[in-house]
């Protein structure tokens, strides 16, 4: 899994990373059940959002502050997400994965995947996150209705995106038009 290429790294480094990923994958499989192909892709998508979404300047803190990809509730990715962001940097900020049990735990975070386990509390969670510069991502059926920004939808065996641009804008986020091209734009009311 060497498709992520950190800036300025050589081929040797890439190979090393690749081997590490395989080892980790193998270890994860050994430790817990490996994530499905669907969640592998979703993990990559979570990473990719960092390239198509612009956060307000200064929202990440100083240069040493990490770029946080958070997972709220049960983690369906296992180690895969960690492997995906390992060693990556966004605008100089090292990328890290943080897992939260409750919404109150969510600290500095840029991308937050809200697991299906939180489906019942979605509205409360999202309302609580309101006003923070956090891109909320989820795959629950009522995610958009509840005020979530990006929802993963399965269509004909493919993962499709439904994005509520309004919600993202209210959170101070700018979503690239390219991403919008590849996604379906929705509003909370329509859902």
């Amino acid at each position: 899994m060497a498709f992520l290429r950190p800036k300025g790294r050589g081929a040797l480094r890439r190979l090393a990373r690749c081997l590490l990923a395989i080892t980790l994958l193998g270890a994860a499989e050994a430790r817990a059940a490996a994530p499905s192909r669907e969640y592998q892709l979703k993990a990559i998508f979570l990473f990719n959002f960092s390239q198509f979404v612009a956060w307000p300047a200064g929202s990440l803190g100083d240069a040493q502050a990490p770029f946080v990809v958070g997972v709220l509730g049960n983690d369906p990715f296992g180690d895969y997400l960690d492997a995906t962001v390992l060693g990556e940097k966004i605008g100089g900020h090292p990328m890290v994965v943080r897992r939260y049990r409750r919404v109150e735990d969510v600290g500095d975070c840029q991308v937050l995947f809200i697991s299906g386990s939180e489906e019942g509390r979605l509205e409360g969670i999202i309302a609580r996150l309101g006003g923070r510069n956090i891109l909320t991502v989820g795959d629950a059926a009522n995610f958009s209705r509840s005020g979530g920004m990006v929802r993963f939808v399965m269509e004909e065996g493919r993962i499709r995106l439904k994005i509520d641009v309004q919600a993202a804008r209210s959170a101070g986020l700018t979503i690239s038009s390219k991403l919008l091209r590849a996604a379906a734009i929705v509003t909370r009311e329509e859902e």
Partner: protein
């Protein structure tokens, strides 16, 4: 035909059209080459820009695995008709989306190659990275463009080039047709003139000068050359004519002189030979009263014959005597001479004509009271006779001889102003005439058209006589149209009267002691005898030296001679030396020179040194007596 042989017009046209054509071709080639290379680079640039746009638009599709979106992005390439194939590879090198949508895998490279575009056989193709955030590659775009655009462009430029070259060549053709005349015109005109000159040998033509350039200078030089040639030709022709005239004149004189010298020798001998006959005949007639009438008549005839011989001989000798002072001119009535000659020659033309059954008529149109001219009657008479004979001979079928006299020049009948006044005798016949050659040569001695019958001397003598008279001869003649001879005698400045006939006085009865010197015994005797009859005492000396001896002997003996008569031409000691010897001893003794050559000298009125008087051979008794009486 090689280029050197082209006419100059064509050469100029070829040069101008060739130059402009080559220049245009060169320009077009450079332009086309430049276009070809710039278009290649610009094609790469365009394709890479297009690639960047497509790649940029494809990032999200690759990032979020949206093949439909990717296909849609690639479908936009339809607007760019030269793109024949395109595809997106994901970051694992698998074909993610393709254009045209239905293409098989074989259309695209199995794996993405190095980034950048390159020309393949008939295509421009290459790979471009698909990157959203710097350093993070999402996949690869492959684009392939055909070269039709380039070929279209080149074809367009080729067509434009052909049109430009064609159009320019036509303009150049029209222009050069007009402009080449500036150069070829003067050269052609010059060549035309040169050709005309060499073909017709006419050096009077001139080439037209167009301007003051090199061609103009050439033309001017050529014209100058022609002028010089013409001038030199003229000068040469003039010099040649002069030379020819001089040569002919000299030739004529030379012939006359040669003839004169022969005649002179002959005349001397004849005069010596007939002198005794003349003296004896005269003496007999004078001193023999008992002669029968027949004898007297015979003697008279003999005397006249001898006179004629003497005259003929003297005229023969006139050939080489060119100087005017040598003749003594006396007043002459031309009308009278013409009348005499018409009568004297009648036997020749009238009788002869009658015998051959033809008729020759003589008409006279004489101007009454024609002024008297100065001349030698015998010469003029001879000249007239010669011309009349020729006129008669020129009319084998009969005809008319017309003789006119008139006055011409200022105050004359024909009013020819400028020419000095002169009396003209004109003898015309209606005979066969003369051609140019004959007219030119008829005065040459020994030139004759009468074959054996002619001597060729008649007209030559006329010519000599006329020259001595300062008279001009004109001939009007053409074959078949008769001949007119015109003798123009200058009129004397002052009118002259005819001299009264000379009266010969009777001899004075003076008796003298006379020494006669001659190398001819017979002549010596005849003179001695006739003079002794008159009572003179005659001593003869046969030869010059003997004459001197006799004279000296006489002086010594106290019996000097009163007169010495000596022949001029003698072997060893001639008459002039005898005269010198006599005068050295006795300057008072008169010396008479007797000579067959002396006629000229006598008529000049100029006697040689030491000679008191000139006497001509054959001596006339009358003249001898007169001379002795004057002592």
């Amino acid at each position: 035909m090689s280029f050197e042989d082209f006419p100059i017009r064509r050469k100029l046209m070829t040069i101008m059209l060739g130059t402009s054509g080559v220049v245009l071709l060169l320009v077009c080639s450079v332009f086309l080459g430049y276009e070809f290379f710039t278009f290649r680079t610009s094609s790469v640039q365009q394709l890479s820009t297009l690639g960047e746009v497509i790649a940029s638009n494809s990032t999200a599709a690759l990032a979020f695995d949206n093949r439909d979106d990717a296909s849609e992005v690639l479908a936009a390439l339809a607007a760019e008709r030269h793109i024949v194939a395109a595809c997106l590879y994901d970051n694992q090198g698998r074909v993610f989306a393709r254009y045209p949508s239905g293409s098989g895998d074989a259309v695209f490279p199995a794996l993405p190659g190095a980034d950048g575009y390159r020309f393949e056989k008939n295509h421009l193709a290459g790979f471009a990275p698909v990157v959203q955030v710097k350093g993070r590659r999402l996949g690869t775009l492959y684009l392939r463009s055909d070269m039709a655009a380039l070929f279209d462009r080149l074809r367009l430029y080729a067509v434009i080039s052909v049109l430009v070259i064609g159009g320019s060549s036509m303009v150049a053709y029209v222009l050069s047709r007009k402009l080449q005349k500036q150069i070829s015109g003067p050269i052609l005109a010059l060549a035309e003139t040169a050709k005309a000159v060499s073909e017709r040998r006419d050096y009077s033509v001139r080439a037209r000068t167009f301007g003051r350039d090199e061609t103009g200078a050439l033309t001017a030089a050529f014209n100058e050359m022609l002028a010089q040639i013409q001038e030199q030709n003229l000068a040469l022709q003039r010099a040649y004519d002069e030379l020819r005239q001089t040569q002919q004149a000299i030739l004529q004189q030379e012939r006359l002189r040669a003839l004169g010298q022969i005649a002179s020798g002959v005349a001397h001998d004849i005069n010596n030979a007939i002198s005794p006959a003349s003296l004896y005949a005269e003496a007999l007639l004078e001193r023999e009263p008992n002669l029968s009438a027949r004898a007297r008549s015979y003697l008279t005839t003999i005397q006249r014959a001898i006179d004629d011989v003497a005259q003929t001989v003297s005229r023969l000798r006139e050939f080489y005597r060119q100087r005017k002072p040598q003749i003594t001119l006396t007043p002459v009535d031309l009308n009278q001479l013409v009348g005499q000659m018409a009568d004297l020659t009648r036997a020749h033309w009238a009788d002869m004509a009658q015998q051959s059954g033809i008729s020759v008529e003589m008409r006279m149109e004489l101007l009454p009271a024609l002024p008297v001219v100065l001349g030698v009657e015998s010469e003029i008479r001879d000249a007239l006779a010669n011309i009349i004979f020729n006129a008669a001979d020129a009319m084998p079928d009969g005809g008319t001889i017309t003789i006119r006299t008139r006055v011409a020049g200022p105050g004359g009948a024909d009013g020819r102003s400028g020419a000095p006044a002169h009396a003209t005798v004109e003898i015309s016949d209606t005979g066969i005439g003369m051609d140019e050659e004959t007219k030119r040569r008829c005065f040459e001695p020994f030139f004759t058209t009468k074959g054996e019958g002619g001597t060729g001397l008649g007209l030559a003598m006329v010519y000599g006589a006329m020259r001595r008279h300062d008279a001009a001869i004109e001939i009007d003649s053409a074959p078949g149209r008769g001949t007119t001879f015109r003798l123009c005698f200058p009129l004397p400045a002052e009118p002259v009267e005819l001299a009264p006939p000379a009266a010969s006085g009777p001899a004075a009865a003076k008796r003298l002691r006379v020494l006669v010197v001659d190398d001819d015994r017979v002549l010596l005797d005849s003179i001695a005898e006739t003079l002794e009859y008159d009572g003179h005492q005659i001593v003869t000396a046969n030869g010059g030296q003997r004459g001197i001896d006799e004279f000296l002997a006489g002086q010594r003996a106290g019996r000097p001679f009163a007169v010495v008569i000596t022949d001029l031409g003698m072997p060893e000691v001639d008459g002039l030396r005898v005269a010198a010897a006599v005068k050295s001893v006795s300057p008072g003794t008169p010396v008479f020179l007797l000579t067959g050559w002396g006629q000229g000298m006598a008529e000049e009125g100029r006697a040689p040194e030491n000679v008191d008087r000139m006497l001509t051979k054959p001596p006339k008794l009358r003249e001898l007596r007169e001379a002795l009486a004057s002592v």
